[in-house]
Symmetry: C2
Subunit: 190 residues, 2 copies
């Protein structure tokens, strides 16, 4: 877990975030897209599909980030897949591109042993609970994702949080972001 | 303004909601998509694009609602365009399909005289302020939109609100929804 793998050497990065309703999956996607476009000078499109899988309680957000306008906003093969719930992992793992990065909650998700190439895990929900509530697990995961992948800058994510979450939530969200970043950096150091 | 025009006799309806940041445009799109898919048995995809226009402060949400899986989630020509801010109207009006329905905040938006075919206006933001806060103007507008267009059922929208907004916001959101529906019905009666 000490290596940092940078994906997306081409100009487009496909990110999928998955979980269940209530985990703030769509907000995480929005923050990523806003950060990329509003503060990192890229183009971004966020898509949420509601259909049979949503009726089963699954939640996902797709974010396509590019240096150019995005023609096709669906995630065909995810360069980065972040999952906070087991069913989201089992459902979406066939969408991983070769060399993709899988990020998973280490307590709520058990990746199939030996079947994934680049797996990074962190106890996002546990860290969030220690910070004051599991509703910020999505932000902990985002901080970790950004530190591990470099897909956007930390600073842009801070700005997106300041610009879009409710004033009373900014402090805890920024703490959650820092916690995710710190967890990623501590792994690099050991 | 007494007529109710039903659009979308084919199986796919393209809806665009536009405004500025802070008006809850994306939430409105999500509620519409969730209501359609989770409770009305349709398929729905919500898309938010972040690019040059978002950097200018504009906010929009596209929702494509269909009886079948949605292949292409971008709104090419809106069957329904709902705008809560003048700039969203001027920017998006060229995307109206022939026979489309335009819904606009009657105080914040001034449609070009004589240039739109089916215009419906309501003081969504003023109604919201009377209910306790302009942040529910998006929900007032949704209630009105659903009553005027019939694109989804009221009941599914109530369920989407109950399922996805924070518990402390459910009451005011349901009041805002009722206010939008009542406003639409009062127009039909006069």
């Amino acid at each position: 877990m000490a290596k940092t793998s940078k994906n997306a050497t081409n100009s487009t990065t496909q990110v999928r975030i998955g979980g269940v309703g209530g985990q703030g999956i769509v907000l995480a996607g929005r923050l990523l897209g806003m950060a990329a476009a509003l503060f990192d000078g890229k183009e971004a499109v966020c898509t949420q599909s509601y259909g049979p899988e949503a009726r089963g309680g699954a939640s996902r957000a797709d974010v396509v980030i590019s240096d150019e306008p995005v023609d096709y906003p669906y995630v065909i093969k995810a360069d980065i897949l972040a999952v906070l719930f087991q069913e989201a992992y089992t459902r979406f793992r066939d969408r991983l591109s070769p060399g993709a990065i899988l990020i998973a909650d280490s307590i709520l998700v058990q990746p199939f042993p030996g079947e994934e190439e680049n797996v990074y895990t962190l106890p996002a929900t546990k860290i969030a609970e220690e910070l004051g509530g599991r509703m910020v697990a999505n932000i902990v995961m985002l901080g970790y994702l950004v530190e591990k992948t470099g897909v956007i800058s930390h600073e842009s994510l801070v700005q997106a949080i300041r610009a879009s979450v409710k004033p009373q939530h900014i402090d805890i969200d920024l703490k959650a972001l820092d916690a995710g970043i710190s967890y990623a950096r501590s792994e690099v150091a050991v």
